[in-house]
């Protein structure tokens, strides 16, 4: 992992060396690239990107950023938030390190998502300096995200592994459609959180990698060769993957924010103080609560 980190950092600092090569897009490959454009051989990546970008991308993002909050608003007013006893016992679940890392990730997301949206909807902002600045922030925030996502992945991934009762959780949608206060089958993290976690880490790594590819453009670290595609197609794959994942991550990000801030009253405190209400754990993370009881830690 340390090597990977080093590799990523080396990527950033070898930018100048990498672009000096100037051969893999604008050099002699230009002719094969032209001939390959729009052929089945490279999965029509060029035209596919044009189609997605010009016809669907803004529409899908618009749906994501309008519809998702709208659904949650509806949920908030119809079903309402879950409220738990806040003066009862608290359970210590997040260490200081975990909280700092999470804070970094939160900062990264708060920078990445809006700036990403600014790029997608740049035309309504008139382009130019403002959107270009957003693009630079987007790149800078990637470094913050990279620094946070790696430890996060390491210290949570065991607890994030799916279990059988996660299926049940999914079937009842975590009980969020019900006003009743029932015990919901979930470990330390419920299936929703797990989905978010994997989306955020594995998806995040893909986002970082594809973002770096697009940032460097003309580089040669053997990646395109290893994948058996041309450099320009690697970039096309990157941009398509980046944007599709971006929609999903944005939707999940909104969900995560809604859950922590609104859907469960006071849930946000656990990631600030490290303590969760026992009542909340008992109901929303019943399996974890039972495990705690069994192990005598509670």
């Amino acid at each position: 992992m340390k090597n990977f980190l080093f590799f990523i950092l080396a990527l950033f600092f070898s930018v100048s060396a990498a672009y000096a090569a100037d051969t893999r897009i604008w050099g002699e490959m230009i002719i094969p690239n032209i001939l390959a454009y729009g052929t089945a051989e490279n999965y029509n990546l060029g035209p596919l990107f044009v189609l997605l970008q010009s016809q669907y991308l803004r529409l899908v993002f618009a749906v994501a950023v309008i519809a998702v909050p709208a659904i949650f608003a509806t949920h908030y007013f119809i079903v309402g938030p879950k409220v738990f006893i806040h003066d009862g016992n608290k359970i210590y679940i997040f260490s200081v390190f975990q909280r700092i890392i999470h804070l970094l990730a939160a900062v990264a997301f708060l920078l990445l998502v809006p700036t990403g949206l600014m790029i997608i909807f740049g035309r309504y902002l008139g382009g130019g300096t403002l959107v270009e600045f957003a693009r630079h922030i987007h790149g800078f925030a990637t470094i913050v995200f990279l620094v946070s996502v790696i430890p996060m992945f390491l210290f949570w991934f065991v607890e994030m592994l799916p279990t059988t009762y996660d299926i049940k959780w999914v079937f009842i949608l975590g009980g969020y459609l019900s006003k009743q206060k029932k015990e919901i089958p979930a470990g330390k993290f419920n299936a929703g959180q797990k989905m978010w976690f994997w989306m955020c880490t594995l998806g995040g790594f893909v986002m970082i990698a594809t973002g770096i590819f697009m940032y460097l453009q003309d580089f040669d670290y053997g990646i395109a060769t290893a994948l058996g595609v041309s450099q320009i197609d690697l970039l096309r794959i990157s941009v398509i993957a980046h944007n599709i994942l971006a929609v999903m991550i944005t939707a999940f990000f909104f969900t995560h924010v809604y859950m922590s801030l609104f859907a469960i009253k006071g849930a946000i405190h656990s990631i600030i103080t490290g303590y969760k209400e026992e009542d909340e754990v008992k109901h929303l993370h019943s399996m974890y609560y039972k495990k705690l009881l069994a192990s005598g830690k509670k």
């Binding site: 950033f12 690239n33 909807f121 035309r123 693009r135």
Partner: protein, 188 residues
């Protein structure tokens, strides 16, 4: 609707000898950084008898230009004569146009800190940009505006072998058609 001329480039590979004249003339005329070549001269299968082909490539000023379709900030505009131009003050240097372009035309000067990409640069068919025609600002951002002066783009004007043709698509294809038909004649 009147029949509008659609300006197009065409490189006759039977004529192109890889002299780099177009590329160097372009760089000189527009005072480009060395890392940017708006026009590239490429030879494939170098030295292989019967297979070596040279050609000159730049922005082809596509009808329905894909770059214009994908630009998130809509910095492209297409003139009535079909020349595809862009506004560098709107461009954010994201690179989407490059991914969309079949010809690898858009390039990005690395002039920012840490080698960040600046505004995209590409062939303007010597027609400048949205700034006031032949103004200092236009010249600084896009180079010469020869079209406004009634001149042929510098690359085609300097092409030693008349391989690189530019003009109304109809006329360009007429010239090429004439070359092709007269080849294979005149033997007697």
């Amino acid at each position: 609707m009147s029949e509008q001329a659609r300006m197009k480039f065409f490189c006759d590979t039977n004529r192109c000898i890889e002299c780099f004249g177009c590329s160097v003339a372009c760089a000189e005329a527009h005072e480009l950084p060395v890392s940017i070549s708006r026009r590239k001269v490429i030879t494939m299968n170098k030295g292989v008898e019967g297979k070596e082909v040279s050609t000159s490539i730049a922005c082809m000023h596509c009808t329905d230009a894909p770059c214009a379709q994908v630009c998130p900030v809509k910095c492209f505009y297409i003139r009535e004569d079909g020349i595809v131009l862009h506004d560098k003050n709107k461009c954010i240097g994201c690179g989407y146009c490059l991914y969309a372009c079949p010809f690898g035309a858009p390039q990005f000067p690395r002039d920012g800190a840490f080698g960040t990409k600046g505004a995209m640069d590409k062939c303007t068919m010597c027609a400048g940009g949205p700034e006031e025609t032949n103004s200092a600002a236009e010249r600084h951002l896009y180079g010469q505006n020869r079209i406004a002066e009634g001149k042929v783009p510098i690359c085609a004007a300097m092409c030693a072998t008349n391989a690189l043709l530019v003009g109304d698509a109809e006329e360009v294809s007429a010239i090429y058609r004439q070359r092709v038909t007269s080849r294979g004649k005149g033997g007697a």
